[in-house]
Symmetry: C2
Subunit: 466 residues, 2 copies
Amino acid sequence: MQSEREVLEQMKRLIEPGSIAIVGASDQISKVGGTITHNLITSDYHGKVYLVNPKKDTIYGRRVYKSVLDIEDEVDLVEIVVPAPQVPQVLEEAGRKGVKGAVIISSGFSEVGNFELQEQVYNIGRKYGMRLIGPNCFGIVNTGIGLDLTFTFTRATKGNISFISQSGAMCCGALDWAALNEVGFAKFINLGNKVDVDEADVLVYLKNDEQTKVIAMYIEGFKNGRHFYEVAREVCKVKPVIALKAGFSEAGSRASRSHTGSLSGSDQVISAAFKQAGIIRVYDIEALLESAVVFAEQPPPEGSNVAIVSNAGGLGVMTADWLSSLGFNIPVLSSEVQSRIKSSILDIGSPVNPIDMTGAADYNSYYNVIRALMEEPSIHLIVPIYVSQGLVTSDIPARAVVDVLKEYEKTTLSFWVGGASIMEGRMILRRNRVPCFSSAERLAKAAKAMYDYTVFRRRREEDDCN
Amino acid sequence: MQSEREVLEQMKRLIEPGSIAIVGASDQISKVGGTITHNLITSDYHGKVYLVNPKKDTIYGRRVYKSVLDIEDEVDLVEIVVPAPQVPQVLEEAGRKGVKGAVIISSGFSEVGNFELQEQVYNIGRKYGMRLIGPNCFGIVNTGIGLDLTFTFTRATKGNISFISQSGAMCCGALDWAALNEVGFAKFINLGNKVDVDEADVLVYLKNDEQTKVIAMYIEGFKNGRHFYEVAREVCKVKPVIALKAGFSEAGSRASRSHTGSLSGSDQVISAAFKQAGIIRVYDIEALLESAVVFAEQPPPEGSNVAIVSNAGGLGVMTADWLSSLGFNIPVLSSEVQSRIKSSILDIGSPVNPIDMTGAADYNSYYNVIRALMEEPSIHLIVPIYVSQGLVTSDIPARAVVDVLKEYEKTTLSFWVGGASIMEGRMILRRNRVPCFSSAERLAKAAKAMYDYTVFRRRREEDDCN
């Protein structure tokens, strides 16, 4: 087994390359190689880019090389987009050139039963000490250096979430979802068939990556579960890791085996290992993405006391129900805080908790009440709720929440109910990094994941002290 | 206690009035009375509309009456939008005029502690045999006759869901959500303080309403739980009833008491009663709306066998996990069906179940595979899944699903993953009444609610036969 330091260095060369050669470059956007070429040269990447294609002289006016071996300068990474049978030769040439990393986009390996060809690729990588991502993958993104090595049509924007997925389809879905929801990524890595680089290798890199605040993973199976566990355990001490591991049902694991050809392992063992390592396990793609956003945008709550502030009594009650059922307290507020709140809401409202500000709640009500809660040390999580009732438009309470958060820091998760009329409020919250839910259940579950992480880290810190 | 027949006749006059007088009519759209007047006269309602306001002579060129008593013709319903202290007099006049129903929008009654005034209103209603909705309510909608008696800015469109809510805020949220998601309503009733008409009365009406396919309720508390249970029990035999009853946690019920002034009752008792009556209980506003849509648009599955058809293996596995965990079977398909499927998908796909058609799946793959599943009698529920992978746009599989459903009928719930690039497909599905989820968990829970209802109805039919 390599040392963490070695792995980190290798991964850095793969994910932060100073120079890249695309083998199979093309100017035909309808081809995968064409999309990749186009995505890379139109991205913000400032490193050297070399295009390789034996059948072309120029692409977009740039010089095209016949082989990697013809490139005069050093190359950190080759991205390979040639038919599968040609991959070994291209890799050989890259190895001889001294390239230390490759992203193999080409498909036609173990996923179609061609284990022999994949083995051959593996051996060439070993021979030259080259780390390989793929084959049969969608590519990688590093927004930290403006690098886009994928064939997506939906470009990832800059953010703090790093996403690792075995499945390319899941990458497409995640990027598409993220673009619509204005969610950005730090690193975005599709591992494909995992001939060499696996989740554990990438985790080592992401643990040390400053841009990454939270790691979201979609996992189908493990090459080396024990090693993954050991690495993940260390990473979870430093930043939250959320994982979606499908295939826990009999039908699901039957399909999972046929899909990836890999054994998915006993689900109970996986759950126990995830828990011990500190990995937050989710069971749905929506939950994976939503909880990643929450961790990226808000600090985990330092305790389990919640204050709920709503302009509709029923929504406050519903949210209190969900949060209570997941272990949070919704304490009666002190008489001091209650009297501060009373001065900002109508008499028919309730300052107890959940706070019912009634439909008349305006900017001042939201602003003053939330500020009072920010200043109350016994409250660890604030949940502002809004439903449009025609009087106060959705942007107004959103601005109040955002304005308070300019001066104070405390975990804040919002819940805006409705359709078109809450769009503006949602956008204001989102752009100011306040997660905005459309469901009390999902809000409560995200809050629970965050608080579980707080508890996990405290326990781990205590363990380390003892 | 009145007979069901009597209640039905009274409710018909309230919800299907032939003539209406708005007392407190106005041409100032900024006032509640103005919005109500505007909404009613611009709605598709073909009955007679009389405007009453002692301070006006004409509104929008129409004659304005000083009092309901001045109207020459019969009036079925008065809608009252005057300050609370004036409500008793207006009601008295309506009673003397022989009006048998009133919707009281005005607030300032029990919700602000003014129980005496509410009692007075109640007594006038009793004296004249007048049924009263409200006070402190948002109004009612009957799209069946184009009637809009609310002060909403988001008009309800025609559909098969009837919505009953005690809370006006919840009505606003639901209408706003429905407009964005192109979901229509049959009847939309806000009960407000429930001085007289309550959920049970409306249920009697909706049970007999042909336009209503499913009933969604938001309940804060009961006036007469026993009576509600008995009525609901009969309604559930005929059509599904979904209810969100908030306030199950200690903090939630504390707030619920303060919010509505009514005792919310022991939650365990409520859960047991709901179950026995056949009411489908949900715990989130999103779940209430989404499951109502599912019941309105698709027939409940006749059994628990599901076939999953995906263009991404992992999404099929995830969905199989969720459905399995809620009691569905995902059976291995017969070799006959498998061979039919095989001819429409790539060799690297899997025809077993969940069916993995791979990212190459096009219109023909979706169409042929779903048709084969429609023709397989052992399958009761079909779940088509799609994630955009750049090759086949989201409208293509949506059209395939819709086209198969033109010829066949079997419960179909879809799961489209992504953001902007799946919008078109979602819209096609939605407009053709195929529910489209963005989460495997929520899809599975909606499927479960539907199947539970199938089981409940079968048992009830057996009971009735014995």
